[in-house]
């Protein structure tokens, strides 16, 4: 990275040591890399957990290779932490923090985040939270085992859970993670609002930036009640208060409201960045303008606001007043309108395009195709009458994996393969990228389609051994479970191809030029990788929207944002 030594008048560089360059860096690109690799590391742990408990489900009571026997509390701790890690330590850091950090300054044409030191602090708190979470798995009594939703009284009182220290550390880790993302979110929003390149107006901002910013706003506006709830839960655990103890005037249902008031917007917090990444990739590789940019943007605003009004559909049968269910059924089904509209916009964007099926494009298209399945199965759960039956079955589980997997895994791979040349200045192997793509997407469907089916016939969640339920341990059901487990192992093994491809390409891949995909947005106008300060020759100015592909009357089929007309 010799380019980092190019200095401008405004920047004087002293020799960067390993520590100041890679560990205590305030450069947004380095912080993005820190978030990304920490997220990948946590994904490996979460994936390993999935392997262990899927093995237990497929072969109950068997000693799982690399782990050993899975006891009931181990099982509960594994599923709890799998969920927590995959959402809070994989989807959030990679989709929002890593891509947000990397893309926001580059795509809006400025040299860094507005508060580089707060940015660094955000990562450090995040790292601390990850360490605390990992420690919580190893403390006496075992890790927290009350499901990622942490419903009290199970989560609040050690006499019921038996994991006194594990529960508290888990809660502290989650709370710290929220603090990290609040700091990061304020940085993202402020940067995108204030530091745009001259000439970049509201409708000139690339979709992915809008989405990350809206996601950050949603996060900031929804997480507060849960932070308050976490303080109360912490007090219940540690001090012995009775906020959630009905015998002492508390109410366990309060936590459910506090949790899901955050929990549902949180779905959109991770969904939106993935949608944004996909939109940008589809436009580049279809050589098309995003269909109805303004409509799409306002649809996303609408989704964001609506997402605050639907949370209690997670609680239909959880003891809320049955009359409230009607309101939340209506709002939940209403939110299908903007999401359907976005989906139509994505499909319409392909119309009349010139589509190249490169690796990033494959991931982006797979995101849309798979997320559709996750989206429509949500309707069953949002409709109160049908949810009576489906609640807490594997149908729910398969549904949200069909949303979260496309978001957190497919969306992430789309983003990484798209911006890898910008991040490291080299290409990844297309061939191995495609092998990895098919090796991930096909097994993914083989894992979860059987689980949809098992859920539909009444298999309930978070059970470590179905042999206790004669109706659920028929031989053919066990076969389906084994099928899902085998597919999972295949999928996990294929991830090694990605890791090898990524690390090999990072050092040995073919050198990439500034703009390998012939894209319009600003990040492609600087070096690959961009030096410290991003544009050594001066920051760019913006003259048009981000999606001017195949504009009539031009020879080239793209028209970068920074080229004067």
């Amino acid at each position: 990275m010799a380019t980092a030594d190019i200095t401008t008048d405004a920047h004087h560089h002293h020799e960067q040591t390993f520590w100041s360059k890679y560990v205590f860096s305030t450069d947004h690109k380095m912080i993005a890399m820190q978030y990304m690799f920490t997220g990948m590391f946590m994904a490996a742990i979460g994936g390993f957990m999935a392997y262990v408990f899927r093995m237990q489900l497929a072969f109950p009571g068997m000693e799982v290779p690399l782990f050993g026997l899975v006891g009931p509390n181990d099982y509960n701790a594994l599923i709890t932490n799998h969920g927590t890690i995959m959402i809070f330590w994989v989807a959030m850091p990679v989709l929002i923090a890593a891509f947000g950090n990397f893309l926001i300054p580059l795509m809006i044409g400025c040299d860094d985040m507005v508060f580089p030191k707060i940015n660094r602090l955000s990562y450090q708190i995040f790292l601390l939270s990850a360490v605390i979470l990992l420690i919580s798995l190893a403390v006496p009594g075992g890790g927290f085992a009350g499901a990622w939703t942490a419903y009290p009284p199970l989560s609040a009182q050690a006499q019921y859970s038996g994991t006194a220290l594990g529960s508290t550390l888990w809660l502290v880790a989650v709370a710290l993670e929220f603090v990290a993302f609040l700091l990061g979110g304020i940085n993202f929003v402020t940067t995108a609002m204030n530091s745009r390149a001259p000439g970049m107006k509201m409708y000139d901002i690339p979709m992915v930036i809008w989405m990350i910013v809206i996601a950050s706003v949603l996060f900031m506006a929804s997480v507060g009640p849960l932070i308050a709830g976490a303080i109360m839960l912490f007090m219940d655990q540690v001090v012995g208060t009775g906020f959630y103890d009905p015998a002492r005037g508390g109410d366990p249902v309060l936590w459910q409201h506090l949790f899901w008031f955050f929990g549902h917007p949180e779905v959109y917090v991770v969904l939106l960045p993935a949608l944004g990444i996909t939109a940008d990739i589809m436009c580049v590789f279809a050589r098309k303008k995003l269909f109805a940019y303004r409509t799409a943007l306002w649809t996303v605003f609408g989704t964001g606001i609506l997402s605050f009004t639907v949370w209690a559909h997670h609680q239909f049968v959880a003891g809320i007043d049955p009359r409230m269910a009607h309101i939340f059924t209506v709002t939940t089904l209403l939110i299908s309108i903007p999401i359907a509209e976005l989906c139509f916009i994505y499909i319409a964007t392909l119309y009349g395009g010139s589509i190249t099926l490169s690796t990033p494009m494959l991931w982006a298209l797979a995101f849309v195709a798979e997320f559709l399945i996750g989206g429509v199965t949500g309707i069953f759960l949002g409709a109160s009458g049908a949810d009576i039956y489906f609640h807490d079955t594997y149908f729910v589980l398969a549904h949200f994996h069909y949303t979260f997997f496309p978001i957190a895994i497919i969306g992430t791979f789309a983003g990484i393969t798209m911006w890898f040349p910008k991040m490291f200045g080299r290409y990844m192997s297309e061939f191995w990228g495609k092998v990895h793509f098919w090796g991930t997407v096909i097994p993914f469907n083989i894992i979860f389609i059987p689980l949809f089916f098992l859920g539909t016939i009444g298999q309930h969640r978070r059970i470590y051994d179905y042999t206790n339920f004669p109706e659920l341990s028929l031989p053919w059901m066990q076969d389906l479970r084994q099928l899902a487990t085998v597919a999972l192992i295949v999928m996990l093994l294929f991830q090694f191809i990605f890791l090898i491809n990524m690390f090999y390409s990072m050092f040995r891949g073919k050198k990439a030029p500034k703009n390998p995909w012939r894209a319009n947005t600003l990040e492609w106008t600087t070096e690959s990788p961009p030096p410290h300060g991003n544009w050594p020759e001066g920051l760019p100015e913006v003259y048009r929207g981000p999606y001017e592909y195949s504009t009539p009357g031009r020879d080239e089929d793209y028209w970068p944002q920074n080229v004067p007309s």
């Binding site: 405004a10 920047h11 004087h12 300054p105 400025c110 040299d111 860094d112 985040m113 507005v114 508060f115 580089p116 609040l182 979110g185 304020i186 940085n187 929003v189 402020t190 940067t191 609002m193 204030n194 530091s195 745009r196 970049m200 900031m220 506006a221 929804s222 997480v223 507060g224 009640p225 849960l226 932070i227 308050a228 709830g229 303080i231 109360m232 007090m235 001090v239 012995g240 208060t241 009775g242 906020f243 002492r248 005037g249 508390g250 109410d251 309060l254 506090l258 008031f261 300060g533 920051l539």
Partner: protein
């Protein structure tokens, strides 16, 4: 070294102030969630009125006065900073910090008396809310005083004067939270 990004202002509000507004917005939902939970429980338990009798209205009222006054000196510091008078701003911020410290000291005496009278955080859920909500607010006061110390030290040297306003906005927000906590915890009986 501040990035160029920090000096841009496409939204029409200086970056620092914009960020503080976002901090305030996210704090609103934190305290909002806590207070909404408290109000629900309070309305559900009329019997808590009896517990609330044992809070010290005069201590709470005095603390309200202290915070209102400290807000006054904070806003006067902002005015001084805008006029470019760093040392005066620093002195006024000093009064605000003094107010914050006094608030915490009064709180300490008040809590000591209550705990000695047997009203601890686990006595009942009313007291749990009382200590948790006031405690969270108290942490914000302490945090504000600490940050204000740094801002005042810089302002004394006529540096970073815009930060006087930023810490002031935060401080007024903490004040407003107390304006609601005071009737909720002390007066409603």
């Amino acid at each position: 070294m501040r990035p160029i990004a920090n000096t841009r202002s496409a939204a029409g509000i200086p970056t620092g102030r914009l960020a503080v507004w976002w901090v305030v917005a996210s704090e609103i939902v934190i305290f909002g969630g806590l207070l909404a939970s408290y109000v629900m429980h309070r309305l559900a338990h009329p019997a808590w009125a009896e517990q609330a009798m044992h809070t010290n209205v005069w201590a709470g009222g005095f603390n309200t006065l202290v915070l209102l006054t400290s807000s006054l000196s904070a806003v006067l510091a902002h005015k001084a900073a805008e006029e470019g008078d760093g040392p005066k701003a620093a002195r006024l911020l000093g009064y605000t910090m003094l107010g914050g410290a006094m608030f915490v000291v009064v709180k300490a005496f008040e809590w000591t008396a209550e705990i000695q009278a047997g009203y601890t955080i686990t006595s009942s859920t009313f007291w749990s809310f009382y200590y948790s909500a006031a405690g969270l607010h108290g942490l914000h006061v302490i945090g504000g005083v600490v940050i204000m110390g740094f801002v005042a030290a810089a302002a004394r040297r006529n540096e970073e004067l815009h930060r006087v306003e930023l810490i002031g906005i935060y401080w007024h927000f903490v004040d407003i939270v107390w304006i609601f906590l005071f009737p909720l915890l002390y007066i409603a009986k």
